[in-house]
Amino acid sequence: MFTLVIGGAASGKSEYAEARALSLPGKRVYLATMRPSDGECLARIEKHRLRRADRDFETVEQYIDLDSAPIPAGANILLECVGNLLANEVYEPNGGGSDAVLHGINTLLSWCRHLTVVTNEVCSGGADYDESTLFYLRELARVNRALAAQADSVVEVVCGLPHFWKGAP
């Protein structure tokens, strides 16, 4: 089963996605994509880590190239999040762009039991951006559309509440 969870900043999408993954069987793997580059990132990572502390997730950190992530077959994976992964794939020297994101997620789908993917809603604030920001938005939107087309369920989280665009609770 493939669930795509999308929401704006601090919408409660991570909590929702964690609860969703916890309700599913299989060895739980938290696939973290945020590269800890400064204090704010570290604080955010720590906050998420504490919340998962007693929830029996094995954490795997993979910043680019999901194809090479050490994930056991049949796992119940929670991937967080596509926005960071895409930024790494787009802006890091060894990154493979949006194609690498989609390829990597399809690799995970081929051997995991359940995949829950958290992604970001960033296209609701108009188009008054510079070209490099628009490029990132366009690429993230492309990845989100492709994942939404493939997913069994697409859930937008608003104020912590799920709205199903596809599939059922």
């Binding site: 609701s124 108009g126 188009a127 008054d128 939107a141 492309r142 559309r145 939404a148």
Partner: protein, 112 residues
Amino acid sequence: MIFVTGPLFAGKREYIRRTLGLSQEEFTRKAVWDVQELAAEVPDLSILAEKLSQKEIVVATETGGGVVPVDPRERAAREAAGRLACLLARRADAVVRVYCGLPQVLKGELPC
């Protein structure tokens, strides 16, 4: 008229074109898109809305989310775009919001 809205790069045109089974050429003939960009340039939005409603399909990108722009012209443009969308939705037989390529019908029914 069918009014299609949704966030930037949500796949609005592709969704409605495919759903109605239109070729690219048919779509270009029957539809008008990015109408949010026209709103800032006209003195009377209802006249613009009336004119756009002659098309079978009208597509607008939502621009009202996020922070209110500091620049007065951008602020006015965004305001006009939102008001235009409301006028179009009122005139439309069907309104569909596309999000990540997925539809939510907000008004009426799609003819398919």
